[in-house]
Symmetry: D5
Subunit: 119 residues, 10 copies
């Protein structure tokens, strides 16, 4: 993936920074392209995080995820890449990404990655 995607991500101020609370965002319409075959892949991205000073603005998140639509990328790398981009944008206290892809060849894959300390 040659271009940066994360510049489209917007954030807004967390008005409750004195409290550790959790925001979960589920995006079941994620699609990218297999780098080997050129065939589309489909999956559900779940993002769970404890905000510090900033929250992800949801419309910009939707547009960010749409940028993967015609991009070739392995499952394992896509999940870690999204985690890195979001963690850089909102600097959360803790964030987890779960990327669950639809079956290929009768095999179904889910990748889960986390940054930040356990709360």
């Amino acid at each position: 993936m040659s271009e940066p995607f994360a510049d489209i991500l917007e954030t807004f101020e967390n008005e409750y920074p004195g409290r550790d609370y959790t925001i979960e965002v589920v995006a079941p319409e994620f699609t990218s392209v297999c780098p080997r075959t050129g065939q589309p892949d489909f999956g559900t991205i779940t993002i769970r995080y404890v905000p510090d000073r900033r929250c992800v603005e949801l419309k910009s998140l939707k547009l960010y995820l749409q940028r993967f639509r015609n991009e070739g990328m392995f499952y394992e790398h896509a999940a870690n890449r999204i985690l890195d981009d979001l963690a850089t944008a909102v600097r959360p206290r803790r964030m987890t990404i779960e990327a669950a892809f639809t079956p290929r060849g009768g095999i179904r894959t889910t990748v889960t990655a986390t940054v930040g300390k356990e709360t």
Copy 2:
């Protein structure tokens, strides 16, 4: 949100203060208005708490939640606001709010916040 909502909340005496026990209330008919677009949002509010000396009276809770019906408010703020209002009213030993909103733009959001020490 310019006006206070919490004055409508009523409480009654907890007759079992010597025991830590849990009350869970699920309100699947929550609706408010998006502050940007003016469009209605819909969601389910789940409240889980260990009472100390007072319990929330359920009919007043229903009326309290109805006050958000025509109010503009972000998801993250609505959840924390409900938690603050209820915690002030019943002074629980511990209370958690889970606010799960229906999808917008193919994206589904849930906000969870807690006050009080772990039991």
Copy 3:
């Protein structure tokens, strides 16, 4: 509730007192009456306990729960009352009651209470 209900509860000897094991009883046909409106309430009572020297006899438990049928009582008090009556009858090592009521006014309530030390 003026009369005692618990006198109907029967117990039998636990033949395996040397082992901590769990008995779960689910009674989905519980009904009582709202003390304010006189309207019937419906719910499911789940009892989970580690017996010490006695077990609850199931037919007597059924008859005990039927005594609430025409009795007025708040949810929170009914759950704690059942726990007290059963714990007095069988003296368990640990016992939990979960009382889940059907929705009223679009709001669903569950009360959970425990006696005895964690096992």
Copy 4:
């Protein structure tokens, strides 16, 4: 309901008038107000129709259904009213409305009405 609601409904040309085909629209976020108690009601509206020369534009349908948000109306009348308004706007070959409301007092109601001949 003193004012007309249907003026907001927009339609577009059906490009396949030579074929009888079915469009189903499900709107699970319908809410109105009980004319007796002033309490909000919630329900799911399902619209199924065979278009003739016009189709309902979906965004205008959403705005039309939102107009019931603060209006008092019985279930039976709301369902028939929506059917009348939509049938007037698109002149379908056949149209069915199913309005399923959430429980009140432990009772759940669904109203179904149809215009046009069986296909």
Copy 5:
């Protein structure tokens, strides 16, 4: 059952008598008493009808069904009795009752009865 129950049923005018449409009411909190054993029975009553000039008022229907709470009656007779009482009250074009009872002795029973011509 010595007393009449049906006098509590209220009706209101059907504002759309020119159209055959269907009203379905589901009451999952029905309970009566077994005439042989005196034990409570539980079930779900589903009423489906095409109104003519009158509709059943739902709150009065709820109160009507509650009158069976402490009455002894066989399943087969309860279903037919409810059908007779409701059909007398609203004079529907067609009405079906489905009474599904919870299991007794590992056996589950459902009784279905209809009045009026097929529509």
Copy 6:
């Protein structure tokens, strides 16, 4: 099966013979023995009938079905045998038996048979 089973079946008078209505009985705890291997088989028996002058008494039906517990019989024959015995006992206007057995060797079998004219 050398002995008659049906002598245990009891019936009671149908108080609504003027109406064609349906009684469905589901017995999910049916068990018999495979005549070839001697291994137990398990299944769910569903009986659906329109009574004429008599109804099946449910407790006697339960005892009747228990008589198959240690009897060897093929699936196809058990279903038809139950249908014959019940139809002889109650002389229904119409009766259907559905016998659904749990899988053996990864294969699941359901047998359905009917007597009486379509209603």
Copy 7:
């Protein structure tokens, strides 16, 4: 498929030929090989038939279906082939085969075929 498979099928006498009744057999462990790629395919075969003078013996049916395990065959042809073999073996009054295959490339296929007149 060069060899005949159907010679393994065994049948037994239908003891109730005077009655039209239905036997449904579900075999969820069917597997064959894709003739193009050599990759295994998986599916569920459902057989529904009204017997005339013979019924399929279930163990022989299981062995018959296992013969496809290492055979290359298109979905559409496998379903029709099974129907032809079974219909030849038992000469049913009516028989339907439904073959539902697990997804390949995100696409799921079901083939349904019938012999004999409608009953």
Copy 8:
């Protein structure tokens, strides 16, 4: 949609033309672009047909459906277009398309269209 898509569709010979049988293909990974907003839409396409002399080759069908990925098109037109393209390619005795799209603005749409006579 300026270009033809259907040229990619391949067919193979139906080896059982003497029998009316049904092939159902479900493609839950369909995606196109909203012609108004440029935002991606997602849906499930179900194709059900009775073949005459040709069947749709599944890999070419998958590639055909992928051509909609970056194309702008209304729901109603996409469904009818797919039906026209497929019916032209395989000349079925009967074919139905059901296109079920994921919710937008809390509203879910399904379009169903058919060619050919009822079988």
Copy 9:
């Protein structure tokens, strides 16, 4: 229960004794007889264990569980008896039995017991 049942249990050597791993066996076709009423009871037995040097042979386990078929025994005792017999036969590092019985009198019971240290 006068006779020993456990002599039918067979075991085989665990080829991976160097590793703590878990074997779960679910037997949903368990049936015994109520010692008070003589009526059959039905339930699902779940066995979960970490083997040491021996594993339970599954066919012998099936035959062992069938021995309860015509035996009278209370729920609580049956679960503990199965645990004792199996633990004696395979000497596991840890073993749990969960016995879930179908409802009687509207009440559902599950008994869970464990031997061996937590892993």
Copy 10:
């Protein structure tokens, strides 16, 4: 099993070795042969691991699992064998195999095994 299977497994470099993250692969189309009866067994293999320097390439994993298709092996041994082969190929920080087999004789078995320290 006389031949090695694992030589077909391919791996690729983990580009995020600095992070402990989890990859879950579910393969519901696993089949092998019972070593006693020669009958096919079916099951679902779930692999969950934290990669160190290498990840399993999914197509090679699919081909590896297909090698068990005509091989005789006990459930308990198959699960441990797959774990050993995969752990040798990718040297994970932690890996768990769960092998859930379809019922035989009314009994369902699941084997779970783990290598590596808890994370």
